[in-house]
Symmetry: C2
Subunit: 248 residues, 2 copies
Amino acid sequence: MLASCIVDLTHAFGPGQPRWSGFHDEQRESALSMENDGISADYHRLVGSWGTHVDAPAEMIPGGRTIDQLSPAELVLPLAVIDLSAAVAADPDRCLQWEDVKRWEADHGPIPSGSFVALRTDWSQRWPSQEAMRNLDGDGVAHTPGWTLEALRHVIVERAATAIGHETIDTDPGVYTSTDALSGTLPREDTRRQYACEAYVLDHDRYQVELLAHLDRVPALGAHIVVGVGKAHGGTAFPARVLALCPP
Amino acid sequence: MLASCIVDLTHAFGPGQPRWSGFHDEQRESALSMENDGISADYHRLVGSWGTHVDAPAEMIPGGRTIDQLSPAELVLPLAVIDLSAAVAADPDRCLQWEDVKRWEADHGPIPSGSFVALRTDWSQRWPSQEAMRNLDGDGVAHTPGWTLEALRHVIVERAATAIGHETIDTDPGVYTSTDALSGTLPREDTRRQYACEAYVLDHDRYQVELLAHLDRVPALGAHIVVGVGKAHGGTAFPARVLALCPP
């Protein structure tokens, strides 16, 4: 047996769900109907970064690899889950620090080389409320957790993680991304500043998964993750079916 | 280690690829650009049955399960591959018979309960040519291989397979589906007659994967398949990333 249990780390996607404010909602249109054709089929118009999805290096790095250029071996990885949920419950602006990673390693040993490192915040339990996911204050600033460059450097450079993932819409905390990111028309320098953590991941030729679900149902270490991302030729991002296989 | 090798059974998808004639081609439109925004993102408009994809029971069965209602346990299965490629090379209308399944079982033992049964025809090597995939004769009749109801009855009812898959656009052979299927506006009775094998699969609450690739690279028995289908809420079909994990 390959796994003792299989945990679905994926939100079902559809119109009206939480999304990055610069993107349009998903649109659906009937292609064939049960009544007229005996077959039910729909067209979906959606942005690549839709629901639980993969961002490939090409999303922010000129000449970076696209979704279809990720190798199959990069899509099936040992899964390490770092739990920051208690701290985030107390402070939604809380970000993963290097100290948090060190504390995890004190309990579980060094993050295995070639892992998928997932940041658990239980933020996914706010889905499907766009308002709760974005958590704006009166000034329009989002209070959502994220990564720090220090933690990413440790995970990606020192521990040679193959990919990372999180439950929020962005890698970076809301206090950075929401300053004036919501217009959808950022000058390029601002994009790099506000999305510094995401750019760091992609610039190291790594991919990431955003809007993961149910990380509370998998062990801190021992499971494998399978990232079944749609193989869009030349795509920079696409929805993925992400499954965790628990150890047999 | 979870697997000794990982084989990608998925075609990359994009505009211009082979498709069922009643569906529109994929359309892409820029959402954000590297030049203006520092981020490259596209909208995709595509039919659920696009590229290597899953068909859920709801595609042809009123009240049947949709894509998001398939359980995670149904997406990770032992893989049995029945090789009909030599016979199809000699006769493109060749369909999988009960006798073929019996011959496979004489070599490998009974198909394990709960398997994913894939029909290998090497038809996927005609991708990405729509003309070669459809293989029309002068009268507009498609000569493409398929399943038979007898073989499906054995696989699904007697061997309790959880899902099936094939390399062609349709479960049924082209000589049935192309009679007047290309208009995209079939009366419902005709749909059920021309797509009898597909309807049989879905009517038994099973799902299927179409347009699989690289079945020539996996063993007849011993690998596992992971069907990473996009989790479209209420969807009847959606592109999937399909990986085979070879035994360690």
